[in-house]
């Protein structure tokens, strides 16, 4: 036994996993159990640093303020990790932009305007995908919302609801991301072009004692989503 342990000590030490690789490996492991991975910038601001399976995340903000981008950014990393996603109610999706935000288009099914009612479409898709990105066409009735939340919890899928204002979703949610205001930078009076958008965001978690207020580049001039303090 002594011989064995001394022999083992002579073996070269196992190289440690590089930091950037560990960032990408860690969520993949935990994804099978309780969470789904998100982009590093969003992991910094989300309670629990990930999307929890079986929970509802609400993204709200005025039309054109970047709610669609934020919703896509939330599911982008999980789709890259191989999780299937359904986007419901996005009637005119900008496919190029979604790809730029990191969404793996091969792992997304779109239900742009479900004829038989979006609630049934969501319920049906919850059997097959792990992430639902939902933009309801009008205020969601209480009963329908309760059914969806229960179904998502049962199927262990993450439900992300994108609405123009908080009142459109009648139930309490686990995480609420609200875009307070946002603006594009880079355009002047004819010169330049849209390069980056700065969005002020308030994040409330259920049961959290404090609400977090932060600013995101959505996207930054390099095309990714980052917290403003880091780089332009």
């Amino acid at each position: 036994m002594f011989a064995f342990s001394s022999h083992a000590r002579q073996l070269p030490a196992r190289p440690s996993i590089p930091a950037d690789l560990r960032q990408r490996v860690r969520p993949l492991v935990s994804a099978s159990s309780r969470t789904l991975p998100v982009l590093p910038a969003l992991a910094d601001v989300l309670p629990g640093a990930s999307l929890r399976r079986g929970t509802t995340t609400l993204v709200s903000g005025p039309l054109g303020s970047g709610t669609t981008s934020l919703g896509i950014a939330l599911v982008a990393h999980a789709s890259q990790a191989g999780h299937w996603c359904a986007a419901i109610g996005f009637e005119d999706p900008g496919v190029a932009a979604m790809s730029e935000l990191g969404l793996d288009l091969r792992k997304v099914v779109f239900v742009p305007s479900p004829r038989g009612g979006w609630a049934e479409a969501v319920a049906e898709l919850l059997d097959g995908v792990e992430l639902i990105l939902l933009q309801p066409p009008q205020r969601v009735p209480h009963a329908a919302a309760r059914q969806l939340v229960a179904r998502a919890r049962e199927r262990r899928a993450a439900l992300i609801v994108v609405v123009p204002s908080r009142e459109q979703w009648p139930l309490p949610v686990e995480v609420h991301l609200e875009i307070l205001q946002s603006t594009w930078q880079g355009a002047g009076h004819g010169e330049g072009r849209f390069r980056s958008r700065r969005a002020d965001i308030r994040i409330e978690g259920r049961g959290a004692t404090t609400t977090l207020q932060t600013s995101l580049w959505l996207p930054s001039a390099r095309g990714d989503v980052v917290v403003t303090s880091e780089v332009c």
């Binding site: 999706p93 900008g94 190029a96 932009a97 099914v109 479900p114 097959g128 004819g190 072009r193 095309g223």
Partner: protein, 362 residues
């Protein structure tokens, strides 16, 4: 659908142990490429190329066929075979036209397809069943309701149905995905170490997602569930497209931006039907674009069709002109990014004298 010229060398379709067929096919492609651009191999012995441009250049489709026959004569003789050339709309119809050695006239592709037997789809079970149901030709099959076809034959059947109706020319099994790699390997004799891995395989997650999508399609119709495709192109609305889930994948779609295209970030909402926009200065004078590509006045106010509110413009970028297909008249478009007072970014375009809302940076 694109008008395609298909050329088929039957003697090269079956491979012998010497591999001479592949080399001769590669030589045939080189010969054709000296006359017509964009030749794409489909499978061994069969290649397609866009027919419109060469037929204009050489003075008609018959002239192109004659020229290519002439050019390929030596290779065909050496292999003791003939050259079969056909022209039609879409890949499937073009390959069938090459088999028959006919040029299908403009607009006659649906008629040509309708007369073909169902066995031409190379789906024996589907063909056997349909023939027993009294549907011997593609025309009969194509006349069925797509939702019913999906119910009875699944996504595979739906793909066949789209081909039979002439809505799509791509059918699984029509292209040999390895032919391009094999031809390239001829030029680079070193060992191939890239294994083409096809997306998905049969993972459990994929199976579950596919099943849920098909259930939804069966309940609400084939067009309910869609997938996104990204192509090469200039503007956001040209680059992205939604197609029904289960539609056959087009191979070799490059995703890069063309010169003159709008760089990232792209708008997250791209309107299928662009809404007209009234763009004026403070006094209400409409903003125009001069022939040299400059705005006639400062854009200050913006009214979108169907929305009562007038929006103030804080900043703008552009205009960027884009002229595509300059040989056809009136394909001139000017793009303008507009930032409203509330920080909302919009992409406008002017074509034929009016402004349109192409997309919103949502």
């Amino acid at each position: 659908m694109e008008r395609l010229l298909a050329l088929w060398l039957p003697g090269l379709s079956l491979e012998s142990s010497t591999g001479a067929e592949l080399r001769d096919f590669a030589e045939a492609l080189r010969v054709v490429a000296t006359q017509c651009p964009f030749v794409t191999p489909v499978r061994l012995g069969l290649a397609v190329l866009p027919a419109r441009a060469p037929s204009r250049f050489f003075g008609g489709e018959e002239a192109v066929c004659a020229l290519l026959r002439d050019e390929l004569h030596d290779i065909a003789c050496r292999n003791n075979t003939e050259v079969r050339i056909g022209i039609a709309d879409g890949l499937f119809a073009a390959t069938r036209a090459a088999k028959e050695n006919v040029v299908v006239p403009y607009g006659a592709t649906p008629t040509f397809l309708a007369a073909l037997p169902l066995s031409s789809l190379r789906r024996p079970e589907l063909a056997a069943l349909c023939v027993r149901l009294g549907l011997p030709t593609l025309g009969h099959f194509g006349a069925l309701d797509p939702d019913r076809v999906l119910e009875r034959f699944g996504t595979e059947g739906l793909a066949c149905h789209r081909v039979a109706r002439g809505e799509s020319g791509e059918l699984e099994g029509l292209r040999d995905p390895s032919i391009q790699i094999r031809l390239r390997a001829l030029d680079e004799p070193q060992v191939l170490h890239s294994q083409p891995t096809f997306f998905g395989g049969t993972s459990l997650a994929q199976e579950r997602a596919t099943r849920a999508a098909i259930r939804l399609q069966q309940r609400f119709g084939a067009r309910t569930v869609q997938v996104a495709r990204l192509y090469a192109g200039h503007d956001p609305h040209e680059r992205g497209e939604l197609v029904p889930f289960g539609a056959p994948t087009v191979q070799d779609t490059a995703e890069q931006l063309w010169p003159g295209g709008l760089p990232a970030p792209s708008p997250t909402t791209v309107f299928c039907t662009p809404r007209s926009v009234r763009l004026t200065d403070k006094q209400g004078t409409p903003v125009g674009v001069s022939p040299r590509g400059l705005l006639s006045t400062r854009p200050e106010r913006c009214t979108i069709e169907g929305e009562p509110r007038t929006i103030s413009v804080r900043a703008w970028a552009g205009p960027w002109p884009l002229t595509t297909r300059w040989w056809e008249s009136r394909r001139h478009r000017v793009r303008l990014q507009v930032l409203t007072e509330t920080g909302v970014g919009m992409l406008l375009a002017m074509e034929r004298g009016g402004w349109f809302l192409l997309g919103r940076y949502d």
